[in-house]
Symmetry: C2
Subunit: 236 residues, 2 copies
DNA sequence: CAAGCCGTTTGATCTGGGTCAATATCGACC
DNA sequence: GGTCGATATTGACCCAGATCAAACGGCTTG
């Protein structure tokens, strides 16, 4: 575990991340707060369900998934997180993490000790506000996933998933059309409530229809409008 | 709209609600904060998707559902809320509510203006802490629903739903075995990602197996252990 | 570069829950 | 107390996606 001192003030993600909307002087205060950086190798846990909760984490670079494991062995991926996004808020409620957070590629995160975050957000109103917004957005995102799992058919789910990834990559300065998936078909399936074969078939069908091109984990979106059309169309 | 002054200090829900864990003097401060009570008649909205966000709401008495409506007409119930629970946190992220909140029976809520809540929680650490816990628990609850929608079969979903309701009624001093559902089969189905016929059939099957007795909206749990067994069993 | 091992694709078949339809029951309102 | 619309139950049939199975491609590793 390497630990460089983090510095939000130097970070090009600050407009996507926790410091969003803060003034220069306020960001300087956050620099104090953010403890250290930590590297997490691909496949390693950032935290596990059951771990005591001490901090939330901002992704400096890399890609994560969170999942929940039931006693009977079934598991569910609850989210994929990329640079600038916040991990660990599941632990605040009970002081114990309730899911696992696993790096899908070699990653680096900033540790934000929670006691100090609360302390500072009692002093810096804009920070308090923004932290509440981050939590609320997580709730709204989860509602979106519930919608997806509860009402959409397989192809709609995958289309929604691809468009969501595309949009998030775009916000980070990458191409909206072209990206490579960090997760396996099985992980996508778990997130979308589908089996990996169904995910694979849906990819193939999208490709046949000329909406995307797929080669393994490499995705190119050829016709975003076609994917969007899938979403707003009622199932038969 | 009737508006009585609320008084957390007098409220028998305070140990379930926002004031949880606060001292007498701190609760007195909350009394200042909580604006007014408001009655919401059965079938009426507390707020709608698109409404500007101004306050969160604590349910004083009654029963609510939240739902999301897609442009194409599909909708999904995202939750059912009962006395002592908090509504409206979906609006914090964007300053606009993202779902509808509808009373399923004549209800009464306490209005907690959000600006003032943030103000006071900058001063009262225990309040800040608890509010963060409430939000985090909402996230964890949503993960549970994702798990349910993503990995469970129809009967498991319904069993989980009944046990969850039972547990929440118990926490409010009602019978764990006997309660009446405030929502229709269709609303249960929407929440659980099932059609109303499937919900109805699952109820009938539970009744045939002697696990519960159902008469319309009246439920009596006869063998909670049997329902729990359904949950921890892997699907074939 | 051969051997293995994942991860992925594709085909064939099966099934849980959706769909469609008919009937039953309840509660609200004249 | 009778009518009507909303809610619930039950049956018959069907299909999207699961399951089972086989083969393939791209890596890592010796």
């Amino acid at each position: 575990m390497t630990s460089l001192k983090a510095a939000c003030s130097q970070c090009n993600l600050r407009e996507l991340c926790l410091p969003y909307g803060l003034s220069e002087t306020e960001i300087a205060q956050i620099d104090q707060l953010v403890g250290a950086r930590r590297k997490v190798k691909r496949g390693h846990h950032l935290y596990r369900a059951g771990d005591p909760f001490e901090a939330i984490y901002a992704i400096k670079m890399g890609f994560f998934k969170t999942d929940i494991l039931l006693e009977d062995g079934r598991d569910q991926v609850t989210g994929f997180q990329m640079a600038g996004e916040i991990l660990g808020m599941d632990g605040i409620g009970t002081d114990i993490h309730t899911c696992n957070s696993i790096a899908l590629e070699d990653s680096e995160i900033c540790i934000i000790p929670f006691v100090q975050l609360e302390q500072l957000s009692r002093e810096v109103q804009a920070l308090q506000r923004h932290f509440h917004q981050v939590m609320s957005r997580e709730i709204v995102r989860d509602h979106g996933v519930m919608m997806l799992l509860g009402t959409m058919r397989a192809e709609e789910r995958l289309a929604a998933f691809l468009l969501n990834l595309s949009q998030r990559f775009t916000a980070r300065g990458y191409s909206p059309q072209e990206f490579h998936l960090r997760m396996t078909r099985e992980e996508i399936g778990s997130y979308l409530g589908l089996k990996l074969e169904t995910v694979s078939r849906a990819f193939s069908r999208f490709q046949d229809e000329g909406l995307i091109s797929v080669h393994q984990k490499h995705i190119r979106i050829l016709e975003a409008a076609g994917l969007k059309r899938l979403l707003n169309h009622q199932p038969p």
